[in-house]
Amino acid sequence: MTVSFVLLALLTLSAAVAAMSMPRLIHCALALAVAFTGLGGIFLNLGAEFVGLAQLLVYVGAVAILIVFAILLTRGSEVSMRPGARSAISGTVIALAVFAVLAHAVLTSGVSRMATTAVTPSNRVQEIGVTLLQQYVLPLEVIALLLTAALIGAVILAWREKSPAAQEGAETR
């Protein structure tokens, strides 16, 4: 455990705690973004460049933005509240259950039985690409299909049905 890891872990954890306990929703979202950044930093610290940067790109650049945008559009930024203690017990139970499932999955997967002294491959990005497009090409395509379906669904949802009057207006425009 190096100093940089400890610092990053502290940053990530404190940001995550802040994300759960801040009274204002926007602050929580921003704290979450910091936690994502810390996570990306940990990946980078471990030498997993691609994963770390993808984490930054996807989570900080897209997911966090999406969250704050959603909060903004739903006027949630105005609401300021203390997280209620009412759901504390059920929340803890759910969190523990999720953790148990994840831990079980990790412990029983092949990864944990692999040698822990892995050598850093010379060209990680290329390797990831090759693996994705050869060994895991089917899952990749399935995910791509799923995302395309989601995209088309979103387009259809956003499609405004044109009334005859609106159509007329569009023509004269």
């Binding site: 926007i26 950044t37 460049e49 790109l57 900080v60 650049g61 966090a64 945008f69 990005v125 023509e171």
Partner: protein, 407 residues
Amino acid sequence: MNGYFAMATGLAERVDQIFVTFDHWAVTNTPEPLRWLVSILLIVVPILAVFPGLFALTTVLERKGLGRIQNRYGPNRVGPYGLLQPIADAVKSLTKEDVVPRTADGVVHYLAPLVIVSTAFLAYAVLPVGRNMIAVHLDAGLLFFFAIGSATELAVFMAGWSSRNKYSLLGAMRAIAQMISYEVPLILSSIAVIMIAGTLSPEKIVLEQAQYTGIFPHWYVFTPWGFAGFLLFMTAAAAETNRSPFDLPEGESEIIAGYFVEYSGFKFALFFLAEYLEIFAVSGLGITLFLGGWSAPLSFLAVIPSWIWFFAKLLVMIGVFIWVRGTMPRLRMDQLMNFAWKFMLPMALIDMVCAGVWRFLPGGALWVVLRWLICAAIIVVPYVALARGLEQGRKIEQRVYRYAEEG
């Protein structure tokens, strides 16, 4: 004769590598415990000095250039030809009062300019400004650049939201919508380069392009897909950095100054700085990806140091940005989105297909011309079709004036 030539080449090489050599010399000549500090400082300080200096120069060049485009003089009072204007501006912004709105979210309001400037500076870490001159040798450098670039969106949002001003919030929302939309073609158009170069490392991409056939370089911009990709990249870059004609998030005439309307004094200057730093960074990336980075445009011009070439190209790009700013009016929000999703995105995807075709067509003697023609057709035909499609159903009518005389 040959001896002179060799000597000249050797000298050129020395000048080219002068900073690298100095860096190495300085690090090896400091005592061991301080070496890490010196090596870091020698990378960070030049970046912190050169690019803000360029920013200062650009502000005055921009104002003069825009002035000349509009047949004005531009600033010419402070110093010779107004070149000391940035100093006056800096003093002014430093001495101005820092006003924070009473209802603003203090911490976020304070942090936003810091975050935006630091992310803007971080992007320079992976920019090769000369042969062997790059701050961090990252294998996935391009990914780092885009990851850092996407963090600016968050800073923009922080600024817009924390000001508690409807204009700044509107500006922030516009900025985020625009940045998300244009990030897609920005990344997709650079993917074409990644496909051809086969690497995510900016250094290696430049090295790929720094080869010459005869005297002509292998810059990607001289290929059909590269040319289209370059134009797409720079257009998306202009939108990504809120540069005119995509400066809706600032929109002085409609939402005053967008997300930084509530910032004054030095914080405002920081936003300004960050914006220009982003423009330089993304222009630098465009140069790296398509214009051969630090490589000379003709093989015999390689005697001129590589870093001079990089900055010369950067200045040309800045000039083009100013030129475009002086030419085009601001888009409307729906036009902006239509342009991103109906034109930029399909063209970027087609560009990727074109790059793929280019990559797998054989490069024989006969094929050189044929490959060129095929790839050009792949770009031009959809371009014409898309342009036609976008223009369809839109009639531009002659405006009828009821009261005013037509001049």
